[in-house]
């Protein structure tokens, strides 16, 4: 087992030890100390929009059941019968009034309260009053603009404080919807990466990799095939020289969250649906605020430890660790509530091309993560380097630090200031 000093020896200002990615003992500790001790994204409220809606998901390895009761209240519950611990609900989603355990028939209301035990005369009255019989809940649950987070530990700051400067990325996404809300009601794509969960998170705001990992998707002019709303050219105009992503900037916050700045050379899309969306936003907010909303100044955002999202790509992505070398990722197309149908239809379609398990962009990332997992088995070289633009970060005006776009400082910050303290707590 790792003592705090062992862990400290594996995280240096510009590098981390390969064991962070390949050692099952580290993974077990992370499930307890990262996923067990901080706010973790659970789902979007629209996934359980109607009374009696439910979904099942996980925090780390722990099974969760998220429900909405008939009064409209949302419940985050452990998906585990109070009797012998059987996973209560086996479906991914649905709508029903309650749940019955398949083993001995214990029944629960949609809000997690015990509804009935068969042959109850075999139990004492005291036992039947034990609150431990109801479905257990994570210590803390809170949400921000529909994004639901939970913490297994009560000892965490308020969610609002935890999110801090990254809240504006969520605002950015939601404000693009004429009704000011997004909906995650277009299903999701799920893929398996045979690599450690941190690979996907390390990639969350990585601008350095794009021209190389995604070379195969570039057209003559350096643009990726028709992405939703156009896309940046990866080449300097008229050349095959990769564009300099540094002016985009990358920003990081004290709790490990981060975002990429505006993509250069990307005009707003110009289709009919966009014009219609823009008119709706102007009617609601006026010209000036609409221009502000539609300015893509945060391309890709990441909320540590398990959520990334794109305002332009219109999706959010949930990273779900399974094992030290196996990770599930779920990609949810984002619907803009109140937007023209064609706008949302185009966004859903676009995710199939960019981020499905058979997409053209994400599969190159997955292949690279899997090769990194193999490469990191090499004990002759122990370090994973994050030294790019070391020391170039300066305070930004939103409570964090900014750095040149290809800087790896968000990762340096994550491992030194978030991962290590949580693991040593």
């Amino acid at each position: 087992m790792y003592a705090p000093d062992d862990l400290r020896a594996m995280v240096r200002p510009d590098r981390v030890h390969r064991k962070l990615y390949v050692d099952p003992d580290i993974f077990d500790l992370e499930m307890d100390r990262i996923y067990g001790r901080s706010w973790v994204f659970v789902c979007h409220e629209s996934q359980v929009a109607k009374p009696n809606d439910f979904i099942t998901t996980r925090i780390g390895r722990q099974p969760l059941l998220v429900t909405r009761d008939r009064g409209g209240e949302l419940h985050v519950l452990f998906n585990r019968c109070g009797h012998r611990g059987v996973k209560l609900c086996a479906d991914a989603e649905g709508n029903r009034a309650g749940f019955r355990c398949p083993y001995h028939g214990w029944a629960y209301r949609i809000d997690g309260r015990l509804a009935g035990i068969p042959y109850r005369d075999g139990y004492s009255e005291d036992f039947l009053k034990d609150p431990d019989l109801d479905l257990a809940r994570p210590a803390r649950v809170d949400s921000y603009r529909g994004f639901v987070f939970a913490s297994l530990s009560a000892d965490v700051p308020p969610l609002d404080e935890h999110l801090g400067g990254i809240k504006r990325s969520i605002d950015d996404l939601c404000d693009r919807a004429p009704d000011g809300e997004i909906l995650a009601q277009a299903g999701c794509n799920r893929y398996i990466v045979r690599a450690n969960w941190k690979m996907q998170m390390d990639n969350g705001v990585d601008l350095y990799h794009a021209p190389f990992a995604h070379h195969s998707t570039l057209d003559e002019d350096g643009r990726q095939f028709s992405r939703h709303g156009g896309g940046p050219s990866f080449y300097k105009p008229g050349t095959r020289i990769p564009v300099d992503f540094d002016p985009m900037g990358v920003h990081g916050f004290p709790n490990g969250h981060g975002y990429q700045g505006a993509v250069p050379q990307v005009p707003n899309p110009d289709g009919l649906a966009f014009q219609e969306l823009k008119a709706m936003l102007i009617a609601k907010h006026g010209e000036e605020r609409t221009t502000e909303i539609l300015t893509y100044d945060r391309f890709n955002s990441m909320i540590y430890p398990n959520l990334t999202f794109q305002a332009m790509g219109q999706h959010f992505r949930v990273v779900m660790p399974l094992d030290v070398d196996r990770t599930e990722v779920r990609i949810y197309p984002v619907l803009m509530k109140g937007a023209p149908d064609d706008w949302n239809r185009d966004a859903v379609r676009s995710v199939a091309a960019t981020h499905s398990p058979a997409s053209m962009i994400q599969t190159d990332d997955v292949a690279v993560f899997e090769r990194a997992q193999e490469g990191l088995q090499a004990s002759g070289a122990d370090w994973v380097m994050f030294a790019r633009h070391m020391g170039a970060e300066i305070p930004n005006n939103v409570g964090g630090h900014g750095a040149p776009g290809s800087s790896e400082f968000v990762l340096r910050n994550q491992y030194n200031d978030v991962w290590l303290p949580l693991m040593c707590q």
Binding site: E328, R330, N344, R345, V348, A352
Partner: protein, 169 residues
């Protein structure tokens, strides 16, 4: 389902002709003759893999693939690129098509409706993957032979978490 213009109702061909067409399609994919494979689709032809069993369309719910001819061309261009990491090393596949059934009458769009079972065995990067399910086709007869108006792939595990995929079923 994808929107297709209604055609003059097609004459239903002999099942052997349909089978031979499907086997040829499978062979083109195994031989990586993707350009020829894409040419089996009509100009408005589509290829769709939904993520749910009863999915209505590729616009209101996530799909694993939804390709028109332009997207097929994009994919082929990428598959031919020397730096496609998802195909380094390249996959080897065998596509099997079986249980072929041809509807005796044209479907509401006037197309020849065909359904069949499929299995694809794929070997890539020291791993073997098995995919299976059902295909639903809308075919049309042209002067050049049968062509695909739409192909929908109902994977038995459409809603699963999948390993990366780069090749059409």
């Amino acid at each position: 389902m994808t929107t297709t213009a209604t055609l003059a109702p097609q004459t239903i061909p002999d099942i052997r002709e349909v089978e031979q067409f499907l086997y040829r399609e499978a062979e083109l994919l195994d031989l990586k003759q993707w350009e020829d494979w894409a040419d089996l689709f009509t100009a408005d032809g589509t290829y769709w893999i939904p993520t749910a069993e009863d999915q209505a369309d590729p616009y209101t719910r996530a799909s694993i693939m939804f390709d028109d001819r332009q997207m097929m061309a994009n994919r082929i261009r990428r598959l031919r690129h020397p730096e496609i990491h998802a195909q380094t090393p390249a996959s080897r596949t065998t596509h099997l098509v079986t249980n072929v059934m041809v509807e005796p009458r044209p479907d509401p769009d006037g197309c020849i409706a065909v359904r069949c079972g499929f299995l694809m065995l794929e070997y890539r990067a020291e791993s073997q993957f098995t995919y299976g399910g059902r295909f639903r086709y809308q075919l049309v007869a042209t002067a050049e032979g049968l062509r695909i108006r739409s192909k929908t792939v109902h994977m038995v595990n459409c809603d699963a978490a999948h390993h990366l995929m780069a090749i059409w079923f």
